[in-house]
């Protein structure tokens, strides 16, 4: 059974100093599926997401209890190289954050820091990932212009291309469309649909409609606990728990 789980959290507890933010969360993510994490503000879903690629290590007072298994290996093990982990588990952030470099250099950044020198290979990967991110046609003639000159939606797709260039296995998205207008949001959602054929995607979203449109599985978090997880169509037509139903129908939160 474990062969069909790509990444999973097992009894994960997370602390900011003395304050506990995640309480005993166990959650499996199957490969090539989109899982949405929903819940009211401050329920710990972003914190949980950042545990999956150990981004929370950057916070000095953070502490983790429990395991996160990527392909059955605990990523919090002493012997694990965090830098390598982050290549396998990529991340796209809420606010588009391309580097103040050219579009080409943005997409190539991940390859360069991982030591790739072959110019032809880099050019090929850059084109490939810009195509995968559905932005190639818009930027192919201005690869040497600054990335900061793109619109918000384009910048976010560039960030997705940047993350894809290093061939991750899992892509984490923290509210990727929340800073974008509806048309750009639509493009990102379409992109997620295409990407899910090759990548395992975990997306945190505030919009329940977005979770309903985009994901195969949905997990509902509340104050650091995992309340309910299930297939999206079931969760949104007949959720098992009343708390879940109250949240998704807007009776609270």
């Amino acid at each position: 059974m474990t062969e069909t789980v790509k990444i999973s959290a097992q009894h994960l507890n997370f602390y900011y100093g003395d304050a506990q933010a995640i309480f005993d969360v166990s959650l499996d993510f199957k490969p090539c599926q989109v899982t949405a994490l929903i819940g009211p503000s401050g329920c710990g879903k972003s914190t949980f997401l950042r545990c999956l690629n150990r981004m929370n290590d950057l916070i000095p007072i953070s502490r983790v209890n429990g395991k996160i298994l990527l392909d059955n290996e605990n990523i919090y093990d002493q012997s694990v190289d965090v830098v390598m982990l982050r290549r396998r588990v990529g991340m796209v952030f809420q606010k588009p954050n391309p580097f103040p470099k050219t579009i080409f250099e943005n997409a190539a950044y991940g390859l360069r820091v991982n030591g790739v020198r072959d110019k032809a290979f880099i050019e090929h990967r850059v084109e490939e990932s810009l195509k995968k991110a559905a932005i190639w046609d818009e930027v192919k003639d201005r690869l040497n212009e600054s990335a900061l000159g793109l619109s918000g939606g384009q910048q976010q797709r560039l960030c997705i291309a940047r993350a894809l260039a290093v061939e991750p296995e899992v892509v984490l998205m923290d509210e990727p469309a929340s800073a974008l207008d509806p048309i750009a949001t639509q493009k990102i959602e379409d992109l997620i649909h295409e990407l899910k054929e090759s990548y395992t995607i975990i997306i945190v979203t505030h919009s329940m409609q977005q979770a309903a449109r985009v994901s195969d599985m949905t997990a509902f978090f509340y104050i650091g606990k995992l309340i309910e997880v299930g297939e999206t169509d079931t969760l949104f037509t007949r959720p098992r728990l009343k708390q879940t139903e109250d949240y998704i129908t807007g009776r609270f939160g």
Binding site: M208, F236, T237, R238, P239, E245, I248, T249, R251
Partner: protein
């Protein structure tokens, strides 16, 4: 935003329930007219049917509006879907009451024919089924809804008996065949009312439990 949706849903619930009351009234009148063979009562049912059609259209449009504007999920979504279907069933029940009125008018023309079949029990049963199904909607009582589904068998049994009896009567009085066929049709309309009431009950179960139990799978 959720408050607005809740208000709209409560509004719809009120309207479907008052449509239910209206339709119940029609059925009651139709059943009365079977016994009394009062053509003026039958006329009333026929003339006022357009009211019910109009209300049915209004309710359906209101539901579509809520679906488009609020994109409800889970129980709210199931509620709206149930309302749309119950709306439809209620209008059909009203149509069956009109059909009964037409039959009564035809039967009443022939003054000297006695009612061979006593429709009282069957009519009462059908009326009760409608009442109970609407009650189960008000209280979201699945047990009551289940009972309605079971009662449908009894009404079907009544219909079969009517068929047998009227077959016999036709053999005995072949010249009254027109009237007799009309009388049989009354039992068919009552049986249809029972079916629609059963549908309403099934909708209520879906709404409450999220389980679709149509077509007798329970």
């Amino acid at each position: 935003m959720a408050k607005h949706l809740q208000r709209e849903l409560e509004n719809i619930k009120k309207r479907i329930l008052s449509l239910g009351a209206l339709v119940e009234d029609r059925v009651r009148l139709a059943v009365k007219s079977i016994k009394s063979r009062n053509t003026s009562e039958a006329e009333q049912i026929i003339n006022l049917d357009h009211e019910i059609d109009e209300i049915e259209v209004e309710i359906e449009e209101e539901c579509l509006k809520i679906l488009a504007l609020h994109q409800p999920v889970a129980v709210d979504l199931r509620f709206l879907v149930a309302v749309i279907k119950i709306n439809n069933d209620l209008e059909r029940i009203a149509d069956e009451a009109v059909n009964i009125a037409y039959r009564v008018k035809t039967i009443a023309k022939n003054k000297d024919c006695n009612f061979i079949f006593d429709y009282t029990m069957m009519a009462e049963k059908a009326k009760t089924m409608l009442r109970m199904s609407l009650d189960s909607l008000v209280h979201l009582d699945t047990d009551m809804a289940m009972k309605v589904c079971l009662m449908d068998d009894e009404v079907d049994a009544f219909c079969s008996r009517a068929y047998e009896q009227l077959k016999e009567s036709i053999r005995q009085m072949p010249d009254k065949v027109g009237i007799l066929i009309n009388m049989f049709l009354v039992s068919r309309h009552l049986e249809r009312i029972g079916d629609h009431a059963t549908n309403i009950a099934e909708e209520v179960i879906y709404l409450t439990e999220g389980e679709i139990i149509r077509h007798g799978n329970f």
